[in-house]
Amino acid sequence: MGKITINVNTLDIEVESGVSVFEAITKRQFPYLDMKIPSIYYLKGVVDVDDSGVCIAEVDGEIVNASRVRVKEGMKVVTKSPALYEARREALKKILKIHNRDCNGCVRCNSCELQELFHEYDFTDEPQLPKENLEEIDLSSKVLVRDNNKCIRCKRCINVCAKMQAVSAIACTGEGLDAVIAPASPAGLAAASCVNCGQCVAVCPVGALSEKDQTDLVREALDDPSKYVVVQVAPAVRAALGENFEFNIGVDVEGRIADALRHLGFDKVFDTKFGADLTIMEEANELLERIQNDGVLPMITSCCPGWIKYAEHFYPDMLENISTCKSPHQMQGAIIKSYIAEKEGIAKENIVTVSVMPCTAKKFERLRDDENGAGVPDVDIVITTNELERLIKDREVRFEAMHHKAKFDEPLGFGTGAGVIFGATGGVMEAALRTAVEKLTGEELENPEFTEVRGMKGIKEASYDVNGTTVRVAAVSGLANANQLLTKVKAGEADYQFIEIMACPGGCVNGGGQPHQPAQTRLVTNVPAERASALYRNDDNAQIRKSHENPSVQALYDDYLGVPGSERAHELLHTTYRPR
């Protein structure tokens, strides 16, 4: 795209051509000049035009919607004037009339995009909505909470659910601020075909959609002296939690998390990286078995509970293709309640396993059938990255003062570089290839990196020549992309042996439980890519980068499980699926 010159606030600046005035100016970023057009509905790739009435500017003397007007050479733009201030304030007033300003009790307080504008445009004492006018909060889902009283009708959730996830669990009728936004089923979100991926939470500018907060359960467990509370942390959490404490995007806070969890009082602090390595052992074994014994192919990964529920709803005929492996944290939970319980001599009933996940769907996953390998639930509580932030702040642990090189507890605190990249799209695939290729060839890989499956593209395909056979793989993120790929597979237009599917665009780093970044930051910075790069750096710095070389995993098999795919491994680490 070419460059053109426009005049903004009397200054000539060069901007990208072919985009809207809003995008051009926001992307250009003038950290030291007051050149900013506010927005509240707009979100790159989700809602492309902002009709809220705040995203306006004076173009050649006229007030226009800056997200609907394209830049033209020589155009004169004013972003700040008394008239614009008044017009934006009026628009915000209308939005505030339908938004219940319960900031103190809202989980999005401080990460709310409306609150930000509210302060910027000098609102001080707008009253809360009267109690009698409030609608009932939708608590039907086991995972998500929807408070229509806070909804500002931006339609980001509707677009993300329909366009990027191909689920459409939430729908809209009507226009503008009078639009009615509601779950596809009148009985609430739970009754709709919602897969709990939480992308609606991730895009919501306010607190209308949020995860069901379960930090109180964690606090209860921590305060109960009879409970042995064990926590594990998913790979993607370390690439994002820092953002909630004002760290730069893409800073790896692995050590600080381990230290903070210890300060919170957990009895054992484990890393789901270990579970990820264990998953690879089982999954690579399953893949090799399927390839060698003419099993059902392509085999599709099963780490993502959003994808699993999606498949149960929309691809019931392909459930055979999905690996029977549990997801990493469920596997780890089962191992904690069997192996660790025996090792430490603690009754499994007294162990509380807490998973810190970037994901909302994990809250649903732990309740599925066949997720209790040791006879008790593998995982007792799932909290998201954002809930961990709340827990840390609530317990007044100084996150900034934590050691950045603190280590997780042995033995389930050690994971390899292969385990950590699970958090990015293509990561499970790459980790599996590192192990599967070595097993197939019997030779050590010179370079453990499979860069073809890296990156933020929705569908990535690659084929590798292993011992003369061609292994064709695909890594997909975003359920609409999965839909597209699986339609092709079913039609026989594509042929793969192994497919990785992650429900959230970009993988777990962009999960529904991850920190919120304002839309304007997301326009300028590719947030999931930055977070993924932190994981790849972590992998790069790891001493051991292949799951099967993890000494703790090897010890687990030697001491307890036998070999991958053994009877005990099946009992503890594998699950079943059913059509919904």
Partner: protein, 584 residues
Amino acid sequence: MNNINELGKVYESDVLVIGGGFAGLVTAIKAIQEGPDLDVLIVEKGFTGFSGQSTKAGNGIVAHLPDQDVMESTEWMVKNQTPYLNDQELLYDYLSTNTDSVQWLRDYAGAQVSENPDGSMKMWRHPESKLAGIGIELRTIEKLRKTALGLGVRMVDQVNIFEVLTNNGTACGAVGFDMNEGEFHIFHAKAVAMATHGCQFKKLGREFMGYGTGIGAAFRAGAHIRNIEFSTQIEIVFKGTNVPVYGGYNLIFNQEGTNISKIYAPNAPEISVPLLKGMVKEVREGRGPLYVDLRVPDDTLISIGWEGMQIGDGRLMPDKIEWEEYVAEKANKYSTMEYGMTPEITIDTRLQAEPVKTNHQFKTDVEGLWAPGKISYQGSAYFGWHRGDGVGNAVQTGIRAGKDMAEFAKSAPLLPMDYDQVVKYKEKIYAPLNRPTNHKPNDIFDWIERYGFGTDKLIVKSEASIKEVLNDVKEMKKIIPELTADDPHTLAKCHEAADSVLSLEMIFRAALERKESRGVFYPHYREEYPERDDKNWLKWINFKMGEDGEPEMYLEDVPLWKYPFRPDGYEIPEGHVDEYYGEK
């Protein structure tokens, strides 16, 4: 065995940086860059990255244009700032690396500085000195905080430090308390940096930037103090504000419409003692109030900033511009004259003690204790001050100290803390709590502000006026053991009051000793001795803690025999030979 953990919350680290302002952050970042395996911790009484002087001032950083000769600049500084009292070696070193340090700031902290179209740094030559200026974004410090966090620096905010712990004279930690809860905190480290700012009193607006607790703690740990008599800072400001009349020093008029700058300071476009003396005289003789006439042609506004620098060009900061608009409004409000280009002005007197003596790596006389940032500006004696280079000073001193500390911490052992010392300090720190007396720490600050800030005491000192202050100090010191507090903030104030008085005492004892006048921007001026006396006073006045805990003064010859620039008629004192072998 006595367990220190029972006395308070203990934090252990390799490098401890006290103060999360610009200098503290740079020190921490540099230390962890030099030693990625080191555990670096910042403790700050406010919020790291949102504290310190740089958040309140500055729009430029001093640099050297490539065509400028560092030796010439050194000479200019030596002759024109605080003549011949510099550590010339350090000054030369400082000047030769200051542009590099700005580059460091750009590379590692993502600092936004003024740029040429090709992306190189844009510099403006100062019309008067040999230096250049670079515009710098005020919010750089927030970026530094994020850089530090990303590198793994640990931060403990809202804990105020009052004492440095020592083990046989080597620093090994610090103690203080949480400003919210009052909980005692103990920091245990191999190397400690005092990046706390010095002690600053301002009369107008009663703004305190530092209370001297860093100076006090370093002093009690054994650090020496140097050049503290040069703590007076003078400024002419728009009435009712703290904002200097940059560029208006040669345009001061009295009510008769006479340009008094031309009468009292005909050749100096900068601020000077004779000009201030003249201003006081004019007002006393009934020709006030004074004003700056900004209507005179542009070419006389020579010190308004850097040559050729314009708003929106090199001046990066929207905040600064907004602030200036606010100032213009305020100046109007307080002015008795027609608004516009003739705002009323007044003298702002400040004490700014930054006297902790350091070596070239900004290490104090105490092993294991460094003092980067403003706290050591006079004490390090490089005296290469150019107005508006607070940020530059923070970066330069922080880089040197951080590097040196990392080297030290890599090989030094973690010395054990002295249990009895921790107990002693804890008792001392909490002593004012619920004392059955009724002296509040603000009594001390009121006293200092009300009686300590006459122009006769701060600008044109005389033996009588100095003795008056020292007498006040004696009286205040009687009150200090009776100060009482019942919350953490007042408790902190009690110690701040005590340390402010300590600084005040040393400033005026040194001022009494120095029987001459010297210095421009940080002048020492004695009415009885208005001339510079190079025969007797090419000396540094130093303090250290005596056995009774009180400051003990000693004098030291400035080692000019080692330096290139010496005043006319200088004779190498007996027992020394000419040790300068470079070019002159």
